[in-house]
Symmetry: C2
Subunit: 358 residues, 2 copies
């Protein structure tokens, strides 16, 4: 538990450190938006609320990657790391449209919020208004993200190097997202594709990307360390994703800020579903099939699903898989750093992903 | 007419010059997408078809801006200019979702094409599939666009400078887009907002942006020339937009590749509508109101609308406004260049925007 606290403290430190900058940044951006008109202002205001409430794991990882690369200008990397958080919130807004999720981080999802706004003002087509402006505020934020990187005070060569990596990763992520969408609402899916979704949509993006971007911004060029960071990030991301899938069924919506069971409604290929589909006894598949893709899931049905996942072995399998990635992740650490403090922190983050309940 | 030919020839030269690179580029990107899966491949393939069929005015303008800045490496700027065309096609895909347009450049719009694809494969939710993948292929292309700029062979300092301008402009464009969406389906709109939409969504983006980006990539730093390029681009863009609005009502869909009359169905605030609303006799407003925002527009109703725009003076007003911007644009030219050939070409592009029928 001490180990985890180290990671919590680091995350908390980062959240606190970025807050004043985040506030200044959005104050400036909001007054620019206001000069354009009410709708850009309202959309950006909601975006600001969403980004404030994020866990900011990716931003913190970028700072950590920078420190692992020997970077010493904390103020600079913290301000710059906002670019990955701008991207992340933008992606979530598009994601919530695709998944038809209603809430995000305890608030209305972007399109839901903007639809509601239009309804209150008797706009003749509120849901199109909500959809369109949610698409566009996220598009705006992609460019705010690039603007943040480009106008940071790193030297131009580091910015371009980082920008290239950033683009490469997000293109892969986007393809992962398309596979995810294609497999939504049809759970009898291509086994290889599901694994690719896990890898590119979450693991690589959540873990490897921010660490490597931060390392690059510090001027880090050691290929061995880069590879180890990538592996560490993948392990972290896998654990993160597995926990996400578990929390999506067994979690407490008060803590996660997301609806429980929506993965089932969307017939999403989580690791739990994947196990039942590919490894469990046929009777569990039959039972689960009845609960997948329903318009609404009752609490009783949610309990049934939980039982299926527990009794079929899916839950244990997911936990065991997380265990394996924990081991894999731990093994990369001595290739990344010889500093005990840094190693402890990297360990702590793996345990944090492993133990998180939100 | 000779004057226009100069611009047509330049545009044709650019289209021909970029084609082999475009083909190589997409061949490489398509095989990457294919390694991910069928859906990314199909979505990118359609994107490729869309980009091929574009007029490529923006790409050509970027090359022109580069030449005006004294740049001599044609091969390099042509390859790099693809980044603005990638962006433009991406924006059109999101735009078609918001405007609910069905066709684009003579093909099915992105979301329509992908919905059809899903239907043929009996996907359980084809329209969500189409919407989601259209959102995502455009998101991908935003990052392909940045990747193209970042990996071009310009020096890092020019890339960062250009990237900053690029981001600044697109953020303004996105806010213009939100105002546009907000005013869709409600034509009694804020007069100032409409003018802002015209300015940021089209004029600045179509004309000024690519010219200034090209000029910057050539290493151009003369503030007077930059301002003149901006003014020239705005004039060009205004003419372009006014013609767009006229063609949207009076154009030939065979040539424009877009449905005629859809501006009325969407109750879009075109310059024609703006005139009837703000300047024409009340009886025209009353008549027009009956034709705005209908679910479908018959050919008879389209004719009625044409009559209203002609008789109210809206058509003449739009033509006259285009005339004024033509004059404004012509006056900027001697602040941009002293070379007769370049000046003739800049003139020709203004006349081209003025006379285009597609």
């Amino acid at each position: 538990m001490d180990k985890i606290n180290l990671a919590w403290r680091y995350l908390k430190w980062y959240q606190d450190a970025i807050t004043p900058f985040l506030d200044d940044y959005f104050q400036a951006k909001l007054s620019q938006a206001k000069r354009f008109g009410q709708v850009p202002y309202v959309a950006l205001e909601h975006f600001y609320q969403l980004i404030q409430r994020g866990k900011k794991v990716r931003g913190a990882f970028m700072v950590l990657g920078y420190q692992l690369g020997g970077g010493l200008n904390e103020g600079l990397i913290i301000k710059t790391s906002l670019f990955i958080e701008l991207l992340h919130t933008a992606l979530l807004i598009h994601d919530d449209i695709m998944d038809q999720d209603q809430t995000r981080r305890g608030l209305a999802a972007g399109h839901v919020y903007l639809t509601q706004y239009a309804k209150e003002r008797r706009h003749p087509n509120p849901s199109l208004f909500g959809l369109s402006n949610a698409i566009t505020i996220a598009d705006t934020a992609f460019y705010l993200s690039w603007q943040r990187l480009m106008e940071s005070e790193f030297n131009d060569s580091l910015k371009v190097k980082t920008g290239r990596l950033y683009a490469d990763y997000i293109i892969r992520l986007a393809y992962g997202q398309m596979l995810d969408v294609a497999n939504l609402y049809q759970w009898h899916s291509d086994r290889e594709e599901i694994l690719k979704i896990f890898k590119y949509k979450t693991a690589e993006y959540t873990g490897s990307l921010p660490l490597i971007l931060g390392y690059t911004l510090a001027g880090g060029v050691d290929d061995g360390i880069k590879q180890a960071l990538r592996d560490y990030g993948l392990a972290f991301g896998w654990i993160f994703q597995i926990k996400d899938d578990i929390l999506g069924i067994f979690g407490d919506p008060q803590k996660t800020g997301k609806g429980v069971g929506s993965d089932l409604v969307q017939a999403k290929n989580t690791i739990l579903v994947w196990y039942v589909e590919n490894r469990a006894k046929p009777r569990f598949r039959t039972k689960l099939a009845k609960l997948m893709g329903l318009k609404k899931l009752s609490l009783t049905q949610l309990d049934q699903a939980r039982e299926i996942f527990t009794q079929s072995g899916a839950y244990d399998y997911a936990k065991q898989l997380a265990d394996e990635y924990l081991d894999k992740g731990l093994k990369t650490i001595d290739k990344i750093t010889q500093h005990k403090d840094q190693a402890d922190l990297l360990k702590a983050f793996l345990y944090l992903a492993f133990k998180r309940d939100k």
